[in-house]
């Protein structure tokens, strides 16, 4: 197969996949390296990548992270089922789309304005995006292909993504289950032993106790906190 879209890094300012002539897969088909193939073929290649490359990670987006639609629970369950079959898989969410300020916690989340930071810091060589709105998914996939060596899988409820190495369109929970079955098949073929295990929880900082919080807890950001009655904050950066 001629790989129109390949694992990066594609370079400083590469052409987008549509600029290179890649078109979205028609209904009933998937994209693999920019070529229209059967969903099964794309899933099989993606499964092998997730099983053989370093630090496989699933990046769920807002459409599956928040409980806003009927089908979310089912999709969320299917994604976790899939994740627990990928050896040492991590889940790093993309909870929203605004750039992170002052600094992203790359262990805890990924952001479409600078996705490469999370990919590079965690040395992720294979990943799945699911539930990210298409505009941001395209931006993210393009930046990852430009600047990292990560194999990208896009599971899309709409028309899919040209930039991903493997792109599944019109995604339902049942497609995720099917993907999981294919992945287990490939895992057995590769002779990888794995007990179904859920990925670890989000490693972000332990929660603050807002009941006992005082300005001192804010450290260098203390000056941004309003002074309490009678208190005079004189020292600032």
């Amino acid at each position: 197969m001629l790989k129109k879209v390949e694992v990066g890094p594609a370079g400083y300012m590469p052409q987008s996949a549509p600029q290179m002539g890649v078109e979205l897969a028609p209904e009933g088909q998937a994209l693999l390296y920019g070529n229209a193939v059967t969903p099964e073929e794309a899933m099989r290649d993606a499964a092998i990548a997730l099983l053989t490359k370093k630090n496989p990670t699933i990046f769920p987006g807002p459409q599956v992270l928040w409980d806003w639609k009927e089908d979310v629970a089912e999709k969320a369950a299917a994604i976790l089922d899939l994740a627990s079959e990928i050896p040492n898989c991590k889940i790093i969410p993309m909870p929203d789309y605004r750039p992170k300020y002052p600094k992203i916690d790359v262990k805890a989340e990924i952001n479409p304005n600078h996705p490469n930071l999370t990919i590079l810091d965690n040395k992720i060589d294979a990943c799945i995006f699911v539930g990210v709105h298409c505009h941001y998914a395209n931006l993210t996939l393009r930046m990852i292909r430009a600047g990292t060596s990560c194999y990208t899988v896009a599971l899309c409820a709409y028309m899919g993504h040209e930039e991903a190495m493997a792109s599944i369109r019109d995604l339902h929970a049942s497609d995720i289950q099917k993907f999981k079955e294919i992945l287990i098949e490939e895992r057995n073929k590769l002779g990888i032993e794995w007990t179904t295990t859920l990925p670890p929880e989000n490693p972000s900082l332990p929660k603050e106790d807002f009941g006992t919080l005082s300005p001192a807890d804010y450290g260098e950001y203390r000056s941004l906190i309003m002074s309490k009655k009678g208190e005079h904050v004189a020292e600032v950066e």
Binding site: W66, D67, V72, A76, Y101, P102, E109, N202, K207
Partner: protein
């Protein structure tokens, strides 16, 4: 109330960054002002936390106050334009629309009308928060015409009397005589009469203030939002000094705001009879609800004892 879109999917909750989970568990969504409002800022997960405003910025404080005062943050959309303010507003956990230069009130006209046609049975609060340049200079026509058309949303002008974000140029709201960039000999005309213009253009609730008193400032913000829901356009001109361009030492920022309260930002509150009726009704309802809650918790406490 549509808390669904800010509630994590059950199975993913433990995979979300704590920040987001806490926003739902300890944030102001779906809560009352007694539980999470200006009165206990610093003790709940606020909508605005980290932001890149200058140290000692009075505008950052006021923006934080705006978000703590929102009557219904989960049903609120804010709009803004170029200027310092948007650096903090865009960090809030409330949708923020950033368009082009000074077009916030035109966008809000379209947005608030579209909300009313899509959600005839819901209340969605639309608030534009822009600086003095965005509201009264480059956005003047769009600001005025949104008021003249009677568009039902709230306009908040963060009046720091200067173009802070672009480096300290004279604005229409700068006081006469101020020596600023693009006014090397000092501004040679008067500060624009924003509240007078607002009243003339048909705003039904108009306030000018220096927000030195948290309770009072919060009350004004909420009044402006409640009235905009039912009656018509509302406007707040708030003094939010630029300590950088006006060289106000950080420790004197509050004193300066206090001083302005007696000078260019003397408290002025205008309301039409219709606006007054809404305010009286809503505040009586809030008072009654708060009383009922207190009585209920007292009763519950008594039962435990």
């Amino acid at each position: 109330m549509s808390l669904k879109y800010i509630t994590p999917a059950e199975r993913f909750k433990k995979y979300l960054p704590k920040d987001y989970v806490e926003l739902v568990d300890y944030g102001p969504f779906g809560k009352t002002q007694d539980q999470a409002g200006p009165g206990n800022m610093g003790q709940f997960k606020e909508l605005v936390e980290e932001h890149p405003m200058c140290s000692g910025c009075w505008m950052a404080y006021y923006i934080r106050l705006i978000f703590a005062s929102l009557p219904c943050p989960e049903e609120t959309v804010t709009l803004g334009t170029a200027g310092c303010g948007r650096l903090a507003i865009s960090q809030a956990a409330v949708p923020f629309v950033y368009g082009n230069y000074g077009d916030q009130n035109a966008m809000a006209s379209g947005l608030s009308r579209a909300f009313r046609l899509r959600f005839p049975d819901k209340t969605k609060d639309v608030i534009t928060i822009a600086g003095d340049g965005g509201t009264m200079d480059i956005g003047f026509s769009m600001t005025m015409h949104s008021w003249i058309r009677g568009e039902r949303f709230t306009t908040i002008m963060l009046d720091n009397e200067v173009y802070g974000n672009t480096g300290g140029q004279e604005s229409g709201m700068s006081p006469k005589g101020a020596v600023l960039k693009m006014a090397p000999f000092g501004k040679n005309f008067e500060k624009m009469p924003a509240t007078g213009l607002a009243i003339a253009a048909g705003c039904v609730y108009v306030v000018r203030m220096s927000p030195t008193n948290i309770k009072k400032a919060a009350k004004v913000i909420r009044r402006a939002i409640f009235v905009a829901r039912e009656v018509g356009p509302t406007f707040i001109q708030a003094y939010t000094s630029c300590n950088i361009e006006y060289s106000i030492p950080t420790e004197e920022v509050f004193a300066d705001a206090k001083a302005q309260e007696k000078d260019r930002f003397q408290f002025e509150e205008f309301m039409t009879d219709e606006a007054k009726a809404v305010i009286e009704r809503v505040e009586a309802e809030e008072k009654a609800a708060s009383k009922a809650r207190k009585a209920a918790s007292k009763a519950a406490a008594a039962e435990v004892n």
